[in-house]
Every structure is written in C-alpha cells, then in structure tokens.
Symmetry: none
Subunit: 181 residues, 4 copies
DNA sequence: CATGAATGAGCTTTCATTCAT
DNA sequence: TATGAATGAAAGCTCATTCAT
C-alpha cells in the first residue's frame, strides 16, 4: 500500500492524488485504506517514519565519528545510497511537495533529523556558506538521481555524477573531492 | 490580485489555497476573480508570464555575449537580482509546487527558458557535472534568499551568501570565484 | 440580436445558451444586451411576440371564413408557409424546449393562439381524435421542415411532403387531400 | 432514484432540475447521488438504457416478422403499451428536452433503435411521406398519452384515441385501421 | 448606447472520512 | 479484514443580472 501510494504521490503530487485513486490501483475500496491508516496524512507519516529510521542509522554512525572531512564525505556517500535506492522517490517527493508537508509541521519526524544532518555536514560551522552548501549537497543527490533528467543525457552514470558534485560541495575548495564510491 | 494570490500560494501552496480565500483577502467575490482570470491556473500563468519576461531580458543579454566565465558569472548575478527581488517568492513557489506546475506542461512559458538558461550556465558543455552544477546554482539562489532559513542565522547577509555559493558552482574549480556584487 | 439569439437557442437549446455567448457572437458586451432586453426571457418573449403577430393574421382570416374542409386546408397551407419561412426555427425551438417555455406559463402569447388554432383545425369537434390530428398536423409541418432530417433523404421536396401529410391529417379519411401549394 | 429523478426531469426539464432537488426529494445528500451515478448525464443514461432494453424486445420481435400491414400495426400497439406504461414519462421527456439529449449524441442508445424502428414502420419505403408518417405515429402516442392534455377532455379514453390515430398513420389510406386493442 | 467591473446565487463535482455490516 | 453506502464540507466555475461611468 505504502509503495503504491508513494508512486502516485510522486507522480501526481500529494494533493492531486485522491484516496480513490490509490484504492483503485490496489483493487480495494477506500474503506480498506482506512483500516490501515487513520487519515491520508498517516500514509505519508508512515512513509516518513521509514525514512526517518534510515536517517537515524546514518546519524548514529556519524555521531560516533570525529567530524573530519573524510567523515562528512562518507556521510554524503551513505546519503547517496539512500537517494539512489528505495528512498529516492520519497525524498524527491518531499522536495517537490513542501506545502503538503508544511501541515505536518512538528509531527514530521524528518525535520529534526535533517537539521542535525546539515549541522554535521556543515562541519558544525556557523558559517552560512557551509550551511547552504550542506543543503545543496543533498539537493544535488536528489536532482542527480531524478529520472526526469535522465532522458536528456542518456547513458550517463547519473548517480556517480550526483555523488561527485555533492562531495565537492562538502569538501574544502581548491582540493580534490576524493573518488566517488 | 496577482500579488495577493501569489502571497497565498507561496504561503500555503497552490492546491491548499482556494479562490474563496484569495477573494476574501481582496474583499471581493470569487466571481470577481473569474472576471479577470478565466481559471485558477490562469492566475499562475499570468504570474509566470511576468517572470518569463524578466528571464527573456536576461537571456537576450546572455545571447549577445561570448560565453566566458565572466559572462556566466554576470548571468548568475542578474538571476540573483531576480531571486532577491519581487520574483523571489514566485521562483520559490515554482520549486516547492512542482506537481501543480506539472499540469501546465507545455503551456508553462518558463520551461524552455530555464532549459536555455541552464545550457548557457553549463557553458554549453555536455558534461553532466556542469549541467547539474548549473541547476544547483539556481537552487542556491532560491534557498539562500528563502526567508524561512533566515530565522536560524539572523543578521547574516543572506543574499550575498547565496550569490557567492552560486558563483562558486559556475566557476572553474580550484580558483576563487570573485567577489560578490 | 433576436436573430442571433434564436440561432443559438435553436442550435444549443435555451438553457445551454448563455448571454455571454450571444454577446460574443454579436461582438458586444452582455451589458449591451441588457440595454435592449430586460431579461433573458425577454429575448424569447420578443421572438414569440413576432410569431404571435403572424398567428394573429392567420387567425383573423380563419375567423372570417366558414369552417369548411377547404378552409381548414387553406389554414394548414398558411401555417406551412410560416413553418417553411423565417418562423420555422422558432417553432421548432418551441417544440424542443418546452421546459424553458413552461416558466412563461400565461405570459406566453402563443398558448391561447395555439389553442384557438387547434380548435378551428379540429373543426370545432369535441372528438378527441380530431383534436389530436390537429396537433399532429402542426407537428408534421415542423418535422417535415426540420433540416436535421434532410440529410437522410436529400433532394426531396421536404416542404411539400410535410404539407401533404399535414393536409391528410385534417381532411376527411378515405378521400384525397387535395393538391399541395 | 432513477424514478424520482425522472419525475423531476419530466416536470421541470433536465436543465432546470438540480441534483440538490433530486437529493432533497430522496432525503439524501448530493454526494449520495454521486455514489450511484458518476455524473448527472449518467442518470439519464441509465434511464435510456432501460428504455433501450424495451425497444430491443420490440425490435427483436419485429425483425422476425414479415413486414406486413398487420406487423406494423402490431408494432404500433406494442409501442403504445410502452407509451402508456412506465416509459411514457421518459419518452415524453425525450421529446421535450431534445437539446439536453443532443450532448449525448452517439452515446444515446436510443438513436439507432429509433432509426430502425421508423424504417420498419415506414415499411422500408424510401417514400418520405411514409417516413414522416412513421415519426408522427410515435408522436401521436406521446401526445395522446400526455396527461397535460387530459384536463381539456376529461373522461375520454386517451390511450385508445392515441392508438387509433397512430394506427391510421401507418395503415394504407382510404381503409379502416382496425379496432384498437 | 454601450462598457467594465462586480455580485449573489447556484451549479456540478470531488474529497476525506465514517460506520454498520 | 474489508465493503457498500453515505455524508459534510468545500472546491472550481458559470450565470443572469446590476450599475456607475
């Protein structure tokens, strides 16, 4: 169910996807959905919870390390794995449906984790440049793995490109960013 | 009308903003809106048309130049002006409400212009790294000028930060990006 | 104006034709229509008034005659002229948009005239057969002159066919109906 | 539901009858109607489908017979049964709301059946007189059974009158049409 | 004579949600 | 577990009509 719902949310957007559509694609009735999820928002919530779990793993690892360049680079690599894998669509959905998530506000389990993530990637610096670059690194992973742009440059190793650009953004300028993968 | 509508669209999202709300805020009836705009989508369309006009100016200038680093940097500076100014909210709206714009598809006057813009910024290179960086440069301008993040680091010169990071992204690596403004 | 309105009413129906459409086809504004007609119903009313005038002429003539078969046949011939001519569309409109006319009720200047007409055609008989035939004679004129059915049998002298069938309906059975025209 | 809707459609016309009215008369909400019918047009469509079924029975019988006078007369008798019975209101509705049905166009299951019916009644003749008479025979059944005209001549056996006039129209001229029923 | 701008009422339709079975 | 039937609320939109200019 979550998968089907996410597919539709990602394709058409949260607001434009009705429970009727989801139910029809699943060949069940709307009421059946309500047996599993208390509200429409709950469907997203459950998806976000899964992602939050993966973020927690990454964060737990990161907290154990000293915050070196290498640590941050490895952090980016782990996030890249998520963005390339099953969580890509969900993460892209989050980027493209921000108003829908705004109504979650504090119940969104991702907010705090994202904040912590960016702090680590920004090397705990208060420098707003670093903070902006941290955010952009994540956007790079999302845009770079977005199948929509694949048609334009077919055959390219999109995931690698995305990762390399993201690594640049978190690495000291004027130096090599290290090899991807 | 366009301004009020944009304010609400930007604040709550396109789908969550009803014509009733817009009308109420304007102290007119829904029917009055329909006198000026044939559909809800038309309201956005008229906003996008304005933005398309500004893009055209920038593009017209860019086409006249040889595509040097300096040209691209100046291009970014001009885009930054747009993102800092009256078009910031609209550009952010576009980024955050992509599903709503998807239904526009080919009628969206921005699509082709954005494509051309990215091509120029990517220095006509086929290299996907450059293309991704071009897109990220624009995102940098949008994120950096987003008032939502200003609360976190008050007092900073956000617009300058955004511009500097954007310039880095379009400048040859390993060198300074030049001073902003 | 009346002509354009009638064209649209006849083509799309009264309810499905908006004043906006009429105004657009006339290249004026809706408000301009309201200068000439107090309401939408008034437009029909003015059309019906014209038709009522023609009916009055026919009725005035009929009242002067003795009610013989020949009189009634001539009456039908005069009605046929109306149905073939400029009033055809209006009469067909009346037949096909009865609910729209129902709201006129007593203000419809045609009601009383039609009743009198049918009474004369039915030869003042109380016999319900004759009354039904009288009504059918008029329907024959309308159906027979309806361009919609012309495509099916092109080239036929539709008006003559309609008239002949109508004449049969008002003539004594078992006898010839007399030559048309 | 269909019955209540038809009652209102027949009384006030299709366009002037809102779903709110139908729902109120049924003591349910508008949304309940939409659970059973996908659109307002669908309500009529379902009614027409029922009538089409009855037409099919009549047509199936007619196709098995040789096309004699007696066949056509029996055909008219069977149609009379429909017009006197539950389908009378619907058939009258069709006659009086033709613009509403025009938007159905090809989805109207009655169009083709009516055409075949008229062809049979017209004895397969190309003679436009016969074709017009065939149509008028049906109109006779509708007008003759229309309760609106009953007030004028109370007590009469309207159904019989209608049938007799209809039979005349499909029988060779100059002869008796045979006794009704 | 005619328009631009607006309105109030109403429409068809859709949606998330509920609940007895 | 799931469904069929229904609901309340609201949405986008259209219409006939008005009126100051």
């Amino acid at each position: 169910m979550q998968q089907v719902a996410l597919d539709l949310f990602a394709e058409q957007g949260y607001e434009k996807t009705s429970l009727r559509e989801i139910a029809e694609k699943l060949d069940v009735t709307k009421a059946a959905l309500y047996y599993h999820f208390r509200t429409k928002e709950d469907i997203i919530a459950s998806l976000l919870d899964d992602l939050a779990g993966s973020f927690d793993e990454v964060l737990a690892w990161a907290r154990e390390q000293d915050n070196h360049v290498a640590t941050r680079q490895e952090l980016i690599r782990r996030l890249a794995k998520l963005a390339e894998g099953q969580f890509g669509p969900l993460m892209r959905f989050m980027q493209e449906n921000q108003p829908a998530l705004k109504s979650f506000q504090d119940r969104n389990p991702l907010s705090s984790r994202m904040t912590e993530l960016f702090t680590i990637i920004a090397a705990d610096e208060k420098d707003p440049h670093a903070q902006l670059r941290a955010r952009l690194a994540l956007v790079a992973l999302l845009l770079g793995n977005n199948p929509v742009y694949h048609a334009e440059t077919p055959g390219a190793a999109h995931a690698d490109v995305a990762l390399e650009v993201a690594l640049e953004l978190v690495s000291p300028r004027g130096r090599s960013a290290g090899k991807a993968t």
